[in-house]
């Protein structure tokens, strides 16, 4: 696979500490396109070894708008189903540039390890120094060890190590869309997580046309008036929640976006620093970056102040547990009660529809209505939209906002970039295979 790809699938066997590479065959891309089309295929191929499969979309890391996302595909201990979780922030991008399109992790390690993936090299590294540490300590320690603050990580915290049902795989220091208990899956394998860094290059079959068309699409996207807004509060307001701005604005610092994503879906809350400060804070950990709108809302509904909600989110991110599950299941309405209950969170969280896509994304369109009506139509649309995003590697929250990102132009750019004629029929077949 020459274009839009590293041409590599990494196969790691934790039983034997074996590391192998396979070529990404063009015929596989022709049949399954990419992202969860291929991660599902790989999961089924290695199913007997209970694998975790990490993937990237065909468009991940390109100039297509919002081409930020990677994917984790694994059997969820929460639902028993094969589920798909987006990899967001700058982490998804880094996977591809670290040298692999897909990573299959089979088996179980005898002792705790983490996978250090860099420039086409995969090292199974001893995690003794970080096992037992929380997510923040782990990411900080690995960044210090590797010598690069731009190291991107997917790590579990004590929740995953202790086998909590709601253990989450966290990205860098932040909570993730993982509602599936993938942190528990990692922990069972004695896998602390992944660290990615790479300075690779992705070749494009027709770079000029690809970039030109990307710009046309971006210009169309920028016509949307919702892009004048930033952050999580406008999203919740658009979904009908009231009082968000009044509640949260006093502690909002800034908003940031995932790779190449026109809307800033992440909001930083400053808990221990003046939120109005623009200079670099002298406090090491002044706050928390929030992308989980439902978790934030759930803490608000518990009656927590914005600062306490921020502290609760921070505690969850450090512990490596799904904050939404904590908010819903903790049975506590105070910060101390919530943070004191992290080790004992039990119960089930409803995952809508087929149950294979994370409800971290609101279950419907945001800002634009996409000409949808009726709950059934909306859910069907949402499921398909999630599948499409995760095949091509599009930031899933943004894909719910932006009608200008169409299946047609994703196929068009994917074909242009790879030199392979990818058709709507193929895409429909892949979606059917994923969604059932």
């Amino acid at each position: 696979m020459e274009y839009l790809s590293t041409d590599k699938i990494l196969i790691i066997d934790l039983n034997t500490a074996g590391v192998e590479e396979e070529e990404l065959d063009e015929s596989l891309v022709t049949q399954k396109i990419g992202g969860i089309g291929i991660t599902k295929y790989l999961y089924e191929k290695y199913q007997a070894d209970d694998p975790i499969v990490i993937g990237t979309g065909l468009l991940t890391g390109t100039t297509y708008p919002a081409s930020a996302a990677g994917q984790i595909t694994a059997k969820s201990p929460a639902t028993g189903k094969l589920c798909h979780c987006p990899i967001i922030y700058k982490v998804g991008l880094e996977i591809k540039y670290a040298g692999f399109d897909y990573i299959v992790v089979k088996g179980r390690s005898e002792k705790p390890v983490y996978l250090w993936i860099h420039d086409g090299v995969a090292d199974i590294s001893d995690a003794a120094d970080v096992w037992g540490k929380d997510v923040w300590q782990t990411t900080d320690k690995l960044r210090q060890f590797v010598g690069d603050d731009l190291l991107q990580t997917m790590m579990i915290g004590p929740a995953g190590e202790n086998g909590s049902d709601h253990a989450q795989v966290c990205y860098n220091h932040w909570s993730s869309p993982d509602r599936f208990g993938f942190g528990k899956v990692f922990g069972k394998k004695n896998l602390k997580g992944f660290a990615f860094r790479g300075m690779g290059m992705i070749e494009v079959a027709d770079p000029e046309a690809f970039v030109e068309r990307s710009l046309e699409i971006l210009k169309a996207v920028k016509e949307n008036t919702f892009l004048e807004k930033k952050g999580i509060a406008p999203i919740l307001t658009a979904l009908g929640e009231e009082g968000l701005h009044e509640w949260i604005d006093p502690i909002v610092h800034r908003h940031s976006a995932d790779y190449f994503t026109p809307y800033a879906t992440n909001t930083a809350l400053f808990l221990d620093e003046d939120p109005g400060a623009v200079k670099e804070s002298k406090i090491e950990e002044p706050g928390i970056l929030v992308s989980d709108i439902h978790a934030l809302l759930a803490f608000k509904k518990q009656g927590l102040s914005a600062i306490d909600a921020g502290r609760a989110l921070k505690a969850c991110a450090k512990y490596g547990i799904d904050p939404f599950a904590v908010a819903e299941l903790s049975g506590n309405a105070t910060l101390d009660g919530i943070t004191g209950s992290l080790e004992s969170i039990k119960g089930e969280i409803d995952i809508p529809g087929s149950g294979i896509f994370s409800p971290w994304c609101p279950r419907g369109p945001i800002f634009n209505d996409f000409d949808l009506s009726g709950e059934e139509q909306i859910l069907a649309w949402w499921e398909r939209r999630q599948a499409i995003s995760m095949i091509f590697g599009i930031q899933p929250m943004f894909s719910l906002m932006c009608p200008e990102l169409t299946e047609e132009n994703m196929l068009e750019l994917a074909s242009m970039g790879t030199g392979i004629d990818l058709t709507q029929e193929t895409l429909d077949a892949v979606v059917r295979d994923i969604c059932g």
Partner: protein, 417 residues
């Protein structure tokens, strides 16, 4: 076609500019390259060379590390017909000097025009403005691209102008005008003035930029600017013309196929371990690029970005080795490369931690640059031995695929007709 055997000095005191010579010669198809440190020069491994190249760095440190033995061997090398090409520090080295240890290398009666007892006023505060030279100062009136013009002693019939960058190299006055191959002719819009234009003109314009000093049967070529810089193709071609002007080259008596070959799993494992550590080092080096630190090592200033220069030079060549079916590897070389690359990673990570902790990192930086030299020399030994093994025997046959003539490829506008 008999190719010249070119030795590139990469020992103590050199900076990173010798890597530009590596790129230049590789692009021109001159693969018979040998990488030297001070020990190999002292052991007279330069005897079998056609050309010896010494690029930029700290002239005093180079002289000190080469010592009397190194100086004597260089003298004999040129006396017996060798071609010496020295740019910047490599140009200063063989000029007559009373300063210790430069007085071990008094081979060329050429005066430095940018030498002064009192420093002119610096327009820009930078440590790159001057270097102590005993009781005097070598000052650098300009940096970046300057315009040179060839003289009739380079080419009787054609006079050319071309640009080359000056990064601390000398303006020169030769004892014999016929030694001067090119003069500083003018400045360019990119020239960065460190003194007033008047002083810069007085120091450089009309003075020699490239001289060729006869010595025994050979020549010392002294280049003030870095004509080997990759951004200056005409200047690069000028160097090639000098290299190829010395013909015929020494016959190569040693057949190439005695060096062990490595293939299959063993080669793959070696290259993976090299890739691993180069990647680890490169990642740290990338993050150091943005840190506010400089190190004064000897007389030279080093920035973290220079670490990446070395690593990128190796990294970009790794792909070729990974695609090739057979590596040509001297015994022990693979282990040397892997071990040195691993140590480089450790030291680079240490530097990052020291800087993050606002602690002194100079000692570690010195170690890093020493390791980078060792690593580069070893890596290039492997690389060029493998690359040139694809050429076939060096006793005349040329088996390079796709190269019908086997002649070195011109890489810029040819200056000689």
């Amino acid at each position: 076609m008999n190719y010249p055997k070119i030795g590139i000095y990469a020992g103590s005191g050199t900076s990173h500019s010798w890597l530009w010579f590596v790129d230049l010669f590789e692009k021109a198809g001159l693969f018979d390259l040998v990488f030297l440190d001070e020990i190999s020069v002292q052991n007279n491994e330069i005897k079998a060379l056609d050309v010896l190249v010494l690029s930029g760095g700290d002239t005093f440190a180079v002289a000190k590390s080469l010592g009397p033995k190194g100086g004597l061997n260089i003298k004999c090398f040129v006396e017996q017909g060798g071609t010496y090409i020295g740019s910047c520090a490599g140009a200063y080295l063989p000029m007559n000097s009373s300063k210790t240890p430069l007085d071990l290398f008094n081979f060329a009666d050429v005066k430095i025009t940018n030498l002064s007892k009192t420093l002119p006023l610096a327009e820009i505060k930078t440590c790159k403005f001057c270097t102590a030279y005993g009781c005097d100062f070598v000052f650098h009136p300009v940096r970046e691209a300057v315009c040179l013009k060839t003289t009739p002693f380079f080419d009787r019939e054609n006079c050319f102008q071309f640009e080359a960058p000056l990064y601390g190299g000398p303006g020169m006055e030769a004892l014999d005008p016929s030694w001067v191959l090119a003069v500083y002719d003018n400045f360019t819009p990119k020239t960065n003035f460190l003194t007033s234009r008047k002083i810069a003109e007085k120091t450089l314009i009309g003075n020699a930029a490239v001289v060729r000093v006869p010595f025994g049967q050979g020549f010392f070529h002294l280049l003030g600017p870095h004509l080997e810089h990759p951004g200056f193709k005409q200047a690069n071609q000028f160097i090639l013309d000098i290299v190829l002007a010395k013909t015929p080259f020494l016959p190569k008596t040693k057949p190439p196929h005695t060096t062990p070959r490595m293939a299959g799993k063993e080669a793959k494992a070696l290259l993976l371990s090299i890739r691993r550590e180069l990647s680890n080092s490169r990642i740290v080096a990338g993050s150091l690029e943005f840190l506010p630190v400089q190190w004064l090592i000897g007389q030279k200033t080093y920035e973290p970005q220079k670490v990446r220069v070395y690593l990128e030079s190796l990294w970009k060549r790794l792909g070729f080795l990974e695609k090739t079916k057979m590596l040509v590897v001297k015994p022990g070389l693979g282990e040397t490369i892997t071990r040195t690359a691993g140590r480089t990673t450790i030291e680079l990570r240490r530097i990052k931690q020291l800087i993050d902790g606002q602690k002194e990192s100079l000692k570690t930086a010195i170690r890093v640059f020493e390791l980078l030299h060792t690593l580069s020399i070893s890596f290039f030994d492997l690389y060029f031995a493998t690359l040139s093994s694809g050429r076939g025997p060096v006793d005349g046959e040329d088996n390079l695929p796709g190269k019908s003539t086997g002649r070195p490829r011109p890489i810029g506008n040819t200056l000689t007709p």
